[in-house]
């Protein structure tokens, strides 16, 4: 039978921005998926070469607009490494709290988009957004902005946490635990949801390693890899949390790993607040000045566990500007696994797989 070639996107309800997939179909079975990227390319890596070090965080945040703070932190950490600036203990805990809050917000966004792509007429989507808004309000309290925070400074964050921030966050975490239970009842126990997710889009452990996927995709395939554990930064090694893995590698595993990650993040936030009380040093970093300290390292490489996988930034430092900056975007690598996973599945499954890979096209294209 002749192959049908259909073009999905770049404007399509479930391509999350501007992904374009050229799909070859044999009847209803996928023979080949060819992702086309570049519709949201802004040349951020080149752009930062023309600006001073601390002028760049606003650009960095727009790389991943679902979890802006984590990319911001990755960049600032790279600059800190180049300049040899130490982050005080207190600032480290503060950053960890903010990053984990951002991770929860990003995961909630994702839960919503998965249910929407499976065709649930926006209910899960709105629920995810409502709970994400609780986190965004907390981040607004701490940073002054709702989505694009530009909160990281060299050696710390912009400002101290407000007085009642701790109690607000802990209350919100209690609420979040309750909500996760309700997601379980509403989404995970639904037989049709299980039918669409279980055993669909299996990525075996060896393929996952060979394709270089990271984050929840890798952990759902059974590899125990989390930068926070394997290459700890800040104070992550002092905290008691686990890298959750599942070994099936299908859509449902990817979903469950994410839910478990939210639970672990809640745990990290609670522990961090406990340790923050006895932490030394100042939370506030250096004020933003155009003339920054001279970098002492020519080349600096920093990797971080972003919400969507491992992000890695490579920077060649010059006197006042980065000479060259390159970023390993986790979703770009995860997108490259799409053809491998989706081959042999049905057209409806393509969207389920695409959703569970959690792609942000801004991050893919940069």
């Amino acid at each position: 039978m002749a192959l049908t070639r259909i073009n999905i996107g770049p404007v399509h309800p479930s391509t999350h921005g501007v992904a374009r997939l050229v799909v070859d179909l044999d009847g209803d079975t996928i023979v080949k998926v060819e992702p086309h990227v570049g519709y949201l390319h802004r040349g951020v890596e080149k752009l930062v070469e023309t600006r001073m070090y601390m002028q760049n965080p606003p650009y960095m945040e727009k790389i991943d607009y679902v979890a802006p703070m984590s990319v911001d932190e990755l960049y600032v950490a790279t600059v800190e490494k180049a300049m040899g600036i130490e982050v005080s203990e207190k600032a480290a805990y503060a950053r960890m709290i903010l990053l984990e809050l951002q991770r929860i917000a990003s995961h909630l966004f994702w839960i919503g988009s998965v249910t929407n792509d499976l065709g649930q007429s926006f209910t899960g989507f709105m629920w995810g957004f409502r709970d994400r808004d609780v986190i965004l309000r907390l981040l607004e309290e701490a940073t002054g902005q709702r989505m694009f925070y530009v909160n990281m400074r060299l050696g710390g964050v912009t400002r101290e946490f407000p007085e009642d921030f701790e109690s607000n966050v802990l209350n919100a975490m209690k609420y979040m635990e309750k909500r996760i239970k309700s997601y379980e009842n509403f989404i995970e126990k639904n037989p049709i949801f299980i039918q669409r997710m279980k055993g669909v889009g299996v990525l075996r452990i060896e393929d996952a390693i060979n394709l270089g996927v990271t984050g929840h995709v890798l952990r759902a395939s059974g590899v125990k890899y989390d930068v926070r554990k394997n290459n700890p930064y800040y104070q992550y090694e002092t905290l008691n949390f686990h890298t959750k893995i599942l070994s099936y590698g299908d859509n449902l595993s990817r979903y469950r790993v994410r839910i478990m990650e939210i639970e672990e993040s809640i745990r990290i936030i609670r522990d961090s607040f406990f340790k923050l009380q006895s932490a030394q040093g100042s939370m506030v970093g250096m004020p933003v000045k155009l003339i920054s300290p001279k970098p002492i390292n020519k080349i600096s490489i920093v990797n971080r566990e972003l919400p969507r996988g491992e992000g890695l930034m490579y920077m060649v430092a010059e006197d006042q500007k980065p000479y060259r900056l390159s970023m390993r975007a986790p979703t770009f690598i995860n997108l490259s696994a799409l053809n491998h996973i989706a081959r042999g599945h049905r057209l409806s499954d393509l969207f389920a797989i695409f959703a569970t890979l959690d792609l942000v096209m801004a991050d893919v294209d940069r």
Partner: protein, 334 residues
């Protein structure tokens, strides 16, 4: 003159031996029913938007009119005034005629449904079978509409509609046969009259479940909205249908929901029977409750996959429909 006497006058007109009077009354009746259907479709479009919004922690339409009740009207006017775009390789005649035929068939089916013991166009013995012959046409018309538009997404939606037809139509026909058997007639008002003691929902709960699921598939409501799966096929067979026809198709969605709810009420919930209130009020009240239930299902379930629907249809619904037939046979015969 009481409402009852008007209805009786109407009934005598509809069944008058004089052909001219008969045709005249049928035309008037059709216009009344079309208006009723349009009003229901319009109001239910609003109710659905509000209800879905409520369950999703949103407000829904609020700006146009009180509680946004004129929002759908504004949307319709906007769609009607827009430019009509026809794809290059579309079959224009088929593409234009299919939505209109669909509306025609839906109204014809509702015409055959008795609204009360007097308010009905005709009461002939094979009403139920006629209704389902007409319903069997709709997936084919959807296929024609999808195929004629020439787009690939529409074609995939069209193919899915035929595949779905294969999966749910047969269990549905078995349930209809069971109802006809239990009532001893295929006349719709006969079926309603037979339910004066016991609703068929209680006589054959299994049959109700099967019929409801099959009806969801027939009406392409969630979780069987595969033909116009919005996150997969953009809008399925509606992808290339533009402006006024799209408005028609949106209205059609609610008209068909009204039709489906009416059929469920007639076959399983005793039609217009009920105390105090007039029959037509009971009928519409019951239909509204069934429609609300359909909406709640839409809010909470994810979409099924086409091959799973085939499996559900043949592996579960068909055997269950046969069991239902057997149980009803034993109960009625004994």
């Amino acid at each position: 003159m009481s409402i009852d006497s008007i209805l009786k006058y109407f009934y005598s007109g509809l069944n008058s031996p004089d052909l001219l009077t008969n045709i005249l009354f049928i035309i008037v009746y059709t216009i009344i029913i079309s208006l009723l259907v349009s009003v229901f479709a319009y109001l239910f479009g609003w109710v659905e938007r509000k209800l879905i919004a409520k369950s999703q922690y949103r407000h829904g339409p609020t700006y146009v009119g009180k509680y946004g009740i004129f929002q759908n009207l504004a949307d319709l006017i906007k769609l009607i005034t827009k430019q009509k775009v026809v794809p290059e390789n579309a079959d224009v005649l088929l593409l234009n005629i299919a939505p209109i035929l669909l509306v025609g068939i839906t109204i014809l089916v509702i015409l055959l449904i008795p609204f009360s013991s007097y308010l009905q166009a005709t009461n002939f013995g094979l009403g139920l079978l006629t209704v389902f012959v007409l319903l069997g046409f709709t997936p084919l018309l959807l296929f024609v509409a999808g195929y004629a538009s020439g787009g690939k997404f529409a074609q995939i939606g069209a193919q899915r509609s035929v595949l779905m037809l294969v999966s749910y139509e047969i269990p549905m026909i078995f349930v209809i046969a069971t109802v006809g058997f239990a009532a001893g007639s295929y006349s719709l008002s006969g079926i309603v009259n037979m339910q004066s003691n016991l609703f068929y929902a209680f006589l054959m709960p299994l049959g109700l479940v099967i019929f409801f699921i099959a009806m969801l598939a027939e009406l392409e409501r969630s979780p069987f909205d595969l033909r116009e799966a919005d996150s997969e096929l953009i809008a399925g067979w509606l992808t290339d249908i533009s402006a006024p026809y799209y408005a028609l198709a949106l209205m059609l969605d609610y008209m068909r929901m009204f039709m489906g709810s009416l059929l469920i009420v007639i076959l399983f919930f005793g039609g217009w029977s009920g105390p105090i209130l007039p029959g037509i009020v009971w009928l519409i009240l019951k239909a509204v409750i069934v429609s609300l239930f359909i909406i709640l299902i839409r809010v909470s379930l994810v979409r099924m996959r086409i091959d799973k629907i085939l499996k559900v249809g043949w592996m579960y619904l068909l055997p269950l429909a046969l069991i239902n037939l057997l149980i009803t046979f034993i109960i009625v015969i004994r």
